[in-house]
């Protein structure tokens, strides 16, 4: 018998078919499901089933984060409807506007545990793979089906093993690794597949950085992007109470579709764009492009370590006239910590604007929408045409430090000259 990948083990357990192998279609029961404002659509479909409540309300998480505080009267009505229905269905794990981004809260609140099957009605649900869970995105109607039946069909995916060796060089972060992986894999190189991360870099990589890689794997289409549970994962749960699920790691003789080895010490600060995530280059090649807006935040890079990295560049400096710096912490806790550590003050003193915790302008809903001809450098995960507003705007993606350096210069800039 051959060994198993993490996906085979988790989906085997969740489907009660421990023999499940890559390529099999299984009916699997999730341990946790999450939806955001699209809970409105989930419930619209769910209400057609005539059921009193979801199969297990304790496994349901609802977060308002995409358009918070409400950007329009229409959104406010959607929020109000969701507040009613979480009461009606006895969904206790409800995070109202201002608490933070769904993917951040699942991890930060220790709701996701290693070895779990997690479904989210959002593509970046892969983020929770940082905790060693098989976490994947579905649509709203699919989520309604899961609310009704407690299960869904899933194909056990092929797995790509990504071995990250070496250490990050000065001015580079998990984001730069993530951008260079998307460049290498392309926009569909991991479609329908799971990514498993291993290697020297991973050994002491903190959970927030792992989240960046699990999050951005979606931009190559990954179905799940997993850091098998290890000492770092257990450290994350220390003192948090509750039962850890048995950690799931791959067998030594597991079969991978492909093994990739990347020496991260060769990766420079990267900038991607416009319009395609895989179109990334070393910051040096794109330096000098004028930017009107610099945005730090999102499920990719809105955590404390990201705001700290930005503040190291910003401290004692000013945002360039003609450029606006917008920061949206990924959660209330991140915002709190950023205040405690003087990080928020450094951002404000440099001339930045801090938005309430949430998705911010990432999806073009509010709080920093781009006009025609404007250029934004952002710590988010997508630079698709029209995503942040006008079809005639351009979005570049980079690490928070590179975004901060670009805000200071008013043009795409190398963060290394601002770091000791």
């Amino acid at each position: 018998m051959t060994g198993k990948t993490v996906s085979e083990k988790i989906l085997g357990r969740a489907s009660g078919n421990t023999e499940a192998k890559t390529g099999n279609v299984v009916e699997a029961s999730p341990d946790l499901v999450m939806s955001h404002e699209n809970t409105f659509l989930v419930e619209k479909s769910f209400s057609e089933f005539g059921l009193e409540q979801p199969w297990d309300p304790d496994k349901v998480v609802v977060v308002l984060d995409h358009r918070t505080p409400a950007n329009t009267a229409q959104t406010a009505a959607v929020h109000a409807r969701i507040r009613e229905l979480v009461k009606k269905y006895r969904i206790k794990r409800f995070f109202d506007a201002g608490e933070g981004i769904c993917h951040q809260l699942l991890v930060e609140e220790r709701l996701v545990r290693p070895g779990q099957l997690v479904l989210g009605a959002d593509s970046h649900t892969t983020t929770a793979g940082a905790i060693g869970a098989f976490a994947t995105g579905v649509g709203a109607t699919e989520m309604a089906g899961v609310w009704a039946t407690g299960s869904l069909w899933l194909k056990v995916p092929e797995t790509i093993q990504v071995d990250l060796s070496g250490h990050l060089s000065k001015g580079t972060y998990a984001k730069d690794v993530a951008l260079s992986l998307v460049r290498e894999l392309g926009p569909s190189g991991a479609d329908y597949r799971c990514v498993e991360y291993v290697g020297q870099l991973v050994l002491d990589m903190p959970i927030p950085s792992r989240m960046v890689l699990s999050n951005m794997a979606m931009e190559s289409g990954a179905k799940a992007a997993i850091f098998p549970a290890d000492a770092v994962t257990f450290g994350w749960f220390q003192g948090s109470g509750g039962q850890l699920m048995s950690p799931v790691v791959a067998d030594k003789d597991a079969i991978y579709e492909r093994k990739m080895r990347v020496d991260v010490s060769r990766i420079p600060p990267m900038v991607s764009g416009p319009h395609r995530v895989e179109a990334s280059e070393s910051v040096e090649k794109l330096s000098g492009i004028k930017v009107h807006q610099a945005f730090i935040g999102t499920c990719t890079n809105g955590r404390l370590e990201d705001l700290i990295a930005a503040s190291e560049v910003l401290r004692g400096r000013k945002v360039s006239p003609g450029c606006r710096l917008i920061v949206a912490p990924a959660s209330r806790r991140v915002f709190d910590d950023a205040i405690d550590r003087g990080v928020a003050q450094a951002i404000l003193s440099a001339g930045g604007t801090i938005l309430p915790p949430g998705c911010g302008p990432c999806l073009g809903a509010h709080g920093g929408v781009l006009g025609p001809g404007e250029v934004c450098i952002s710590s988010s995960n997508r630079n698709f045409k029209g995503r942040m507003g006008s079809d005639e705007a351009e979005i570049y993606l980079a690490s928070p430090a590179t975004v901060a350096a670009s805000a200071v210069e008013g043009k795409i800039a190398d963060p290394r000259r601002y770091l000791r």
Binding site: N38, L41, R387
Partner: protein, 168 residues
Amino acid sequence: MKARGRVWIFGDDVNTDLIIPGRYLDNYDPAHLASHAMEGVRKEFASEVSKGDIVVARDNFGCGSSREQAVTALKHAGVSAVVARSFARIFYRNAINLGLPVVISQNAADLLKDTESATIDTDSLVLSSEDRQRVAKLEEIPPHVKRILDEGGLVPHIKNMLEKRVSH
């Protein structure tokens, strides 16, 4: 499923922000969504598309967000099927779940001409130009997926399942 309409040909990696930008998602009304379908990649699509039309694309159609409004926008605009060389996985599932046929074809985007009339038959697995001079082969829809599609999507599929449970 059989349908007749014009084909609209697109390239690789048509993402969900191009199919329906996030700025329109405050409003869940299908007619509103349809009126902006494909706006990011082809401005005239929403006003010119008509019932039965077929979207044909190359690789990785529907990549990006999980927003199922991308499917709603196309479906409500009258699109009868999306044929592509490959689909991003969440878009694929969303389409099945909302009862919009999504079919893989290796050569449809190369064989057919943009805006020409064509017929699609997802049972005999062909997409052919009206004069039948050019016929693209469609790949079979996996049986566990076809079952959901044949019932009209996931909501009717689950309704049927729940009714069976009650009657047993």
